[in-house]
């Protein structure tokens, strides 16, 4: 990364010029054999055509979030006016009661001590590049609010020296920059004032989405919109979801030697289990492991085939309150219709945060159905005494990734550890772990964003700190001859790890594979004759 001292005012200058360049050589080093930069595939550069068509004036990273360039100055001006209008709505009780108090406190009371910066894995991994400071985008946002929304703001901005010009360049860069944050809230955790820079990133995303209609395609068009329309962000319609799982039931019945049968739409069941549909496609052994465990424990449970009851993701939590509430409401309506006693989520961090806490104050009346986290649910199964386990079947190195949304945001820390300590003799923690963990680098919806060279950024920058942590956790047996299991009980984290492990060929070089928690539990079941974990890379 070309190290350059950035000023806050640089955000509005230079029009189409890139604010920084990314150079892998200058980033935080990784342990061997991943320290040889020359052996790695380089950062994918944009073509002239892409540069011509798309806004790429931030760091040369382009995803589906990239905006087409405005046709003329009038269009630029229109967007700037919309941005100011969005700022006003963001600070109004009617339009933003959902987060007004946290937002105002974070705007008004930052002491500019920069204490939060060293908590940010992206900032650290980038060798402290100013652009990726948690405070860089927040302070720009703060100064824009103070200048354009508060009385006398323009005069005060000039007098106090905090003046930032609002133009097309500013808002297009701010939009991109809001998607260079994992929303992991490590920065908020370290702030002595309780200021939340991750929240500011999310509020910026929300302004762009709810006022200007700007959001990454993977999160919006191919995310919440598709999910609400056809049932799943994967595009799977209900009949396809049922067919897929029936096929998997048969395949795994054959492979495991026990009857695997997933129940659908069982009215009056005790439990509605909502997986992330991406698991059915990308990590099918995860939903099947749940089927095996729930059946073996004799639970009265069901999946739903109603749109979008078989896909628990809720990308709204990353960028849009309206979409968040729509998805959460639909999930609760389905549970109410099935007359279940509780909803249990699959292994998906943001699904938990959205459904259990963030949407808790949206689901009023009879939609407020009890919701239980998956770790506690699994712990209850494991220690119920209904299933026999043989921990020696899991006698290989295992480490645990703590999904930020499940651990730092919900405080679900110990249940998964009690399971791992019981079933995995070689379980070891990463450093730091628990609520102090580092994000996988795919948090905040980034794990599902890939085009054009966004994956490179996620692997090189956002996920760098986590990859180092994983390697350090297995540093006693670094070679590929010892198979190692990275337990990541979250679909989005697994998708990010799949990209990281594949990019660095960590399976081949270090023998690391990534999977969920339920698979490890099933692997230790006495009744499962063949190993459930096959050590195949996804």
């Amino acid at each position: 990364m070309t190290k350059r001292k950035l000023k806050l005012t640089d955000i509005s200058k230079g029009e189409d010029t890139q604010l920084i360049d990314i150079n892998i050589d200058e980033m935080m080093p990784l342990p061997p054999p991943y320290d040889k930069v020359e052996e790695l595939r380089g950062f994918k550069q944009l073509t002239d055509d892409q540069r011509e068509r798309l806004v790429c004036n931030l760091d040369g990273v382009v995803s589906y979030a990239a905006l087409p360039k405005p046709k003329n100055k009038e269009e630029e001006k229109k967007y700037v006016e919309q941005f100011v209008s969005g700022l006003k709505k963001l600070l109004s009780k009617e339009n933003n009661w959902t987060f007004l108090q946290p937002l105002l406190l974070s705007i008004d009371y930052c002491a500019q001590c920069q204490t939060c910066c060293d908590a940010c894995p992206i900032y650290l991994a980038s060798d402290r590049n100013d652009l990726y400071r948690p405070t860089y985008r927040s302070e720009i946002f703060r100064r824009l609010v103070n200048k354009y929304i508060k009385p006398g703001g323009k005069l005060r901005a000039k007098v106090t020296g905090g003046d930032i010009e609002l133009n097309w360049t500013t808002i297009s860069r701010l939009y991109e920059l809001s998607y260079r944050c994992n929303l992991c809230r490590r920065c908020a955790q370290s702030c002595p004032m309780g200021v939340d820079n991750a929240l500011i990133s999310r509020e910026l995303r929300k302004l762009f989405s709810q006022e200007l209609g700007w959001a990454p395609k993977e999160l919006h068009e191919k995310g919440t919109v598709l999910q609400l329309a056809v049932g799943s962000a994967t595009g799977m319609r209900p009949n396809v979801a049922i067919d897929n799982l029936k096929f998997l039931d048969e395949e795994f019945s054959e492979a495991t030697g026990i009857d695997v049968s997933t129940p659908w739409d069982k009215e009056g069941a005790d439990i509605l289990l909502i997986h992330s549909a991406g698991d059915i496609i990308s990590f099918p052994e995860s939903p099947i492991a749940f089927t095996i465990l729930c059946n073996a424990a004799g639970l009265n449970w069901t999946l739903s085939s109603e749109i979008p009851g078989y896909d628990g993701i809720n990308y709204g939590v990353f960028y849009d309150d309206v979409q968040l509430a729509k998805v959460a409401t639909r999930h609760a309506q389905i549970a109410r219709k099935l007359k279940v006693k509780k909803i249990v989520m699959g292994e998906c961090g943001h699904q938990h945060k959205a459904t259990m806490t963030v949407a808790d104050r949206v689901l009023t009346g009879d939609l407020n159905i009890p919701r239980e986290n998956v770790m506690t649910f699994l712990e209850n199964i494991v220690f119920s005494g209904k299933i026999k386990f043989d921990p020696s079947k899991n006698d290989f190195p295992v480490t645990l990734h703590d999904p930020c949304n499940l651990v730092r945001n919900l405080g679900v820390v110990e249940p998964q550890r009690r399971i791992l300590r019981y079933l995995c003799p070689q379980f070891r923690e990463m450093t730091p772990y628990g609520i102090d963990n580092y994000c996988c680098g795919g948090g905040g919806g980034l794990s599902v964003m890939s085009d054009v060279n966004f994956t490179d950024w996620k692997v090189f920058v956002a996920g760098r700190m986590k990859f180092k942590q994983i390697l350090d956790a297995f540093s006693d047996q670094p070679g590929p001859e010892v198979k190692k299991y990275l337990c990541a009980p979250c679909l989005n984290c697994k998708l990010q790890f799949r990209d990281i492990l594949e990019y660095y060929r960590a399976g081949e070089n270090s023998g690391i594979i990534c999977g969920g928690l339920a698979e490890l539990i099933v692997n230790a079941m006495v009744d499962i004759k063949k190993p459930y974990i096959t050590w195949e890379e996804h």
Binding site: N95, L105, Q112, C113, N373
Partner: protein
């Protein structure tokens, strides 16, 4: 300057300070209930707070009683306020100056409270030895507070100006705030060293104010200090330096607010969901008339394909 001037100045400034502080505090409390946005660790989680766990770890938590600790949040905040734990853990290089600065403020506040107590002692004519001990303590607190505060303020000004990590975020206001509070500390130190008995002088001054004594008078050095301090107290509540108030809300109302819905909240939520929405993006399908309940329970459409 003497007599009624001081009464008008001191009580006037204190009155304005309280009015603005109360107004701004009420403004925060009157903001609507927000969506849950808690963040571990939440210290009131009895038995779990130490590792950052929450009641959500319990199997069928909604059927279990919540065990909340009253002391743990107080201890947590006491460490945060008096020892600056967050800065110590995450920004060690800033901690010595920031700690000196804040400790200076705390000691001066304690010294003022002691001085008020001493004034009452004087009026009540309590035993002289008791008064002398109290005056002695106030005097030490004042000296240490002014010196620590001066070092902290001057040090922070220099650090802000020279540290590449802080400099890009500086504004004139940030410097002004530090200079202003620095002036309070430095003038206090000057008054302490200029006075043969600073604590007595301060206590008699306060006694004169309390007793509405028209003969109140101060030396030049203490007058200067009191006036600078009063101007600062007048300025303080309008600034972000009232983070000592805001911090209560950022911790208790946001980070540690993990309360499920109760009847009062349900009523407020019904009102909030009935508010009109006017976001402009097509997928919101708002028109300024439809309310939150309407737009979130209706099927979505996609403006980007329209």
């Amino acid at each position: 300057m003497s007599g009624i001037f001081w009464h008008i100045l001191v009580f006037g400034v204190i009155g304005i300070f309280l009015i603005v502080i109360i107004y701004r505090t009420l403004a925060i409390t009157r903001l609507p209930v927000h969506l849950r946005w808690e963040l571990a660790p939440i210290p009131h989680e009895k038995g779990k707070g130490r590792y950052g766990g929450s009641y959500l770890e319990e199997y069928e938590w909604w059927n279990k009683p919540q065990h909340r600790s009253r002391m743990a949040p107080i201890i947590y905040m006491a460490k945060e306020i008096f020892l600056l734990r967050g800065v110590w853990e995450h920004n060690r290089a800033l901690w010595p100056l920031s700690f000196a600065f804040h400790m200076g403020i705390y000691l001066i506040v304690v010294m003022l409270l002691l001085s008020v107590m001493n004034a009452v002692f004087i009026i009540a004519q309590v035993a002289l030895n008791v008064l002398n001990v109290s005056l002695g303590i106030a005097s030490v607190f004042a000296l240490v507070g002014y010196l620590l505060g001066s070092v902290g303020a001057v040090g922070l000004i220099i650090k802000r100006a020279l540290d590449a990590n802080l400099r890009p975020f500086n504004t004139i206001t940030k410097y002004f705030n530090l200079v202003f509070l620095g002036a309070v500390f430095v003038s206090g130190a000057y008054a302490w060293f200029s006075s043969p008995d600073f604590a007595s002088e301060m206590s008699f001054f306060i006694k004169g104010l309390i007793a509405l004594d028209a003969g109140v008078a101060l030396t030049f050095s203490l007058s200067l200090h009191v006036i600078i301090s009063l101007l600062f107290v007048l300025y303080l509540p309008w600034t972000d330096m009232i983070h000592f108030i805001a911090k209560y809300f950022t911790y208790h109302e946001i980070r540690w607010n993990d309360a499920p819905q109760d009847e009062k909240m349900k009523k407020e939520l019904r009102g909030l969901l009935a508010q009109p929405v006017s976001w402009s993006a097509a997928h919101v399908e708002a028109n300024g008339v439809k309310n939150w309940a309407d737009v979130t329970s209706k099927k979505t459409s996609d403006e980007k394909e329209a």
